[in-house]
Symmetry: C2
Subunit: 339 residues, 2 copies
C-alpha cells in the first residue's frame, strides 16, 4: 500500500476498438496519445466525499464522481472492495483492510486524448483510475476485476457497459472480448505493428453510430466476416503480416458507418495504396486508423491522411505510433512535472 | 514420377466440417475412419478413357468419371495440367511433360467412410485422387492447387464447390477457409485433441440442411458467434483447452439444424456432462462429434452416445480417434493386401 497523501503518476493509453472485422470484440492499445493522471489516498471526514476529481485540462468534464467516468469506475471499485471487506470481517480473515468511510481517492486528470475522438478517451480515464486505485491499496484486484469496474465509466460515457476499449487499455496489446456475460478477455499476441491514426475534427455521436447499424445481417456476409476474424486472429498469432492484411476487411459495419465520416472511401484507397496492411474506423469514429508493417509506411500513410483532410479543409490531428503492449502504467510515485 | 502400371496406396481421412461456431470456415481431419485408394498411371489408346474408376466397396457409387467425385476432381487436374503444358510448350520450357492423350489414371476406391454420414466421405475420394495423381506424376501442383481440383468433386456430390472438408483432408489438422474467392486456406496449429464421433444411421440431405438455414441472422448473434470463433482460433493456437471448450458454442446454425437429428440436445448434455470440451453437428450431419482433452473422456463420451442411440433404438456407428495432422497420405508403392 502507498502511504496516505503520496501521489502516484499514471499513464493511460488511447485504444482502438472495433478492429475492422472484429466489431465489438477486438481492440488494441496504442503508445500515443495517452492520458496523464495523478492519484493519492487521503484521509477524509464523514462529510467529505470518498472521491475527488480534479481536471487539469480544458475539456470541462464533470467532476461529480457519479457523472465523471473515472469517478463512476472508482465508485464500483470501492463498492466491491467494501462488500468483500464485510465478507472477510465475517470470516475473521481481514488483514489491513481499508475503511473507505475514512479514506478517499483524490484523482487529477490531464486529458491528452480528446473526448469524442473515437480512440477510447473515456476508457483511458476509467481504466487509469481503477488501475491507480488498485496500486494505491496494494493490488488486491485482478485485471479482469478492474475491467469490470471501469466498464461503469463507459456506461456513464455512452450508456453502454462495454469493454471494447477498457480491455486493451488495461491489458495492453490486442485483446479479444470473447464474451461480455460472463466477461471473458483473451490477450492476443501480435507482431510489431505501426499504427497511423487521423482524427478529423467532426462529431460522430456513439448513439448515432449505433442507431444506424442494421439489426440483421445476411448469413453470407456473416460467414465472410467470421472468416476474416479467424484469419486476423491467426495472422496476429502467427505474425503473418500478409494474412493480417488480407483479413482486415469488414463487410458488415464499415459500409454503413463510413458514410458518417467525410472522405472515408478515398482515404482508405490512398492509405492502402501507400502500403498500409489495412484499417478502418476506430471505435465508432470519427478517428480512422491504418496498420503498417514498417514505420516508413506508417509515415507515408500519415501524409495521405493529411493531404486528404487538407484538401477537404477539415481540421484534423494525426498520430504515428505502435501497439502499446503494457496497458495502463504506474509511472512511479510523484507528480507530472507540468502541474 | 512413378513408373507406368506401378500401383500406389493412398489413405484419405474423414473430416469434420462446420466446426461448431466455425460454420463454412473451420474443419479438421481425423485418423479414423479413412478411405483406402490405389492408383496407377496406365498407357491408353485414343478410344480408352483417361480416367478409370473401380469401386471395390459395396456402395454402388457411379464409375463414370464425370459423375464420380474422384473422377470429377481428376478431370480438373488433367485439364489444368494440360493447359499449363500448352503454355510451357509455347515458352519452350517443357521437360518430361506427360501427354494425357496417351496416359491415363486407374483408380481403385475402397470406401470405408460411409457416404452421407457427414464426415467428408466425398471429400476423401476427391482429395485422395488428386493427391495420388500429383504424386504419380512427380508433384507438380501445390496443396492449394489440389484443393481447387478436389472442390470439383464436391460440386458433383452436393452441387456446391465448397472446401470445408477438402481443405482439412488435404492439409491435415485444423484448417480455416478464410475465403473461397479467391481460395485461401490457413493451417491452424492445435493441441492433442481426442474426437468422439457418432453416426446415427439416418439420412440428412445436405440440400435440406442448407435450405432450412435462415438467410438473415441477428447482428447480436453474429457478434456472439464471432467472439467464439476468435476464441476458438486463439484457444487452438495457444493450446488452451478451457478456452477451446468455452468457445465451442454455435448460436446460429446448430439451433436450426439440430432439429434434423434425433436426440441431439440430450446427447449434447450427456457428452458435456461426461467431460467433453464441446462439439456439435459434423458437416451438415447426421454425424455428431465431441472433442475431449483426454482419451478416457473421449471413451466415456462414446458410451453416452451408444446409450442414447440404443435407447432410441437407432442403428449407429461410433469412432474414438484423434485429429489427423497429415492429411491424405501416400502409403508407398503397392496394393492394399485385402484386394
Amino acid at each position: 500500500m502507498v502511504p496516505i497523501n503520496q501521489w502516484i503518476k499514471i499513464k493511460a493509453p488511447a485504444t482502438v476498438a472495433n478492429m475492422v472485422c472484429g466489431f465489438d470484440i477486438l481492440g488494441f492499445a496504442v503508445n500515443n496519445p495517452y492520458d496523464e493522471m495523478e492519484m493519492r489516498l487521503v484521509t477524509r471526514a464523514a462529510h467529505q466525499a470518498a472521491i475527488t476529481i480534479i481536471n487539469t485540462d480544458d475539456f470541462n468534464l464533470p467532476t461529480d464522481p457519479e457523472k465523471n467516468v473515472a469517478g463512476a469506475a472508482l465508485i464500483a471499485f470501492i463498492e466491491e472492495y467494501t462488500a468483500n471487506s464485510i465478507i472477510e470481517k465475517s470470516l475473521g480473515t481481514e488483514s489491513k483492510l481499508i475503511d473507505f468511510s475514512k479514506i478517499g481517492f483524490e484523482v487529477k486528470i490531464n486529458k491528452l486524448i480528446k473526448p469524442g475522438s473515437g480512440v477510447g478517451s473515456s476508457a483511458a480515464s476509467s481504466a487509469g483510475a481503477v488501475v491507480g486505485a488498485n496500486y494505491l491499496i496494494g493490488n488486491p484486484f485482478s485485471k479482469d476485476d478492474l475491467v469490470r469496474f471501469a466498464m461503469n465509466g463507459e456506461k456513464v460515457a455512452s450508456g453502454v457497459k462495454h469493454a471494447d476499449n477498457i480491455a486493451p487499455c488495461i491489458h495492453g496489446g490486442v485483446t479479444l472480448v470473447r464474451s461480455i456475460f460472463p466477461l471473458e478477455i483473451v490477450a492476443l499476441p501480435s507482431p510489431t505493428l505501426f499504427v497511423t491514426i487521423v482524427h478529423p475534427q467532426i462529431e460522430v455521436r456513439t448513439a448515432d453510430a449505433r442507431s444506424i447499424l442494421k439489426q440483421n445481417v445476411q448469413l453470407k456476409d456473416a460467414i465472410k466476416q467470421w472468416g476474416n476474424i479467424a484469419g486476423l486472429v491467426a495472422g496476429l498469432m502467427k505474425g503473418d503480416y500478409d494474412l493480417i492484411g488480407r483479413s482486415l476487411e469488414d463487410v458488415i459495419i464499415e459500409p454503413v458507418r463510413s458514410i458518417l465520416i467525410p472522405g472515408f472511401d478515398e482515404l482508405k484507397k490512398a492509405c492502402k495504396a501507400a502500403g498500409a496492411l489495412g484499417g478502418g474506423i476506430s471505435g465508432s469514429g470519427p478517428s480512422i486508423f491504418f496498420l503498417s508493417k514498417e514505420r516508413d509506411t506508417a509515415l507515408a500513410v500519415e501524409q495521405e491522411m493529411k493531404k486528404l483532410y487538407e484538401g477537404l479543409a477539415l481540421a484534423h490531428h494525426t498520430y504515428v505510433t505502435t501497439i502499446n503492449q503494457k496497458g495502463v502504467e504506474i509511472e512511479g510515485q510523484g507528480k507530472f512535472s507540468a502541474k
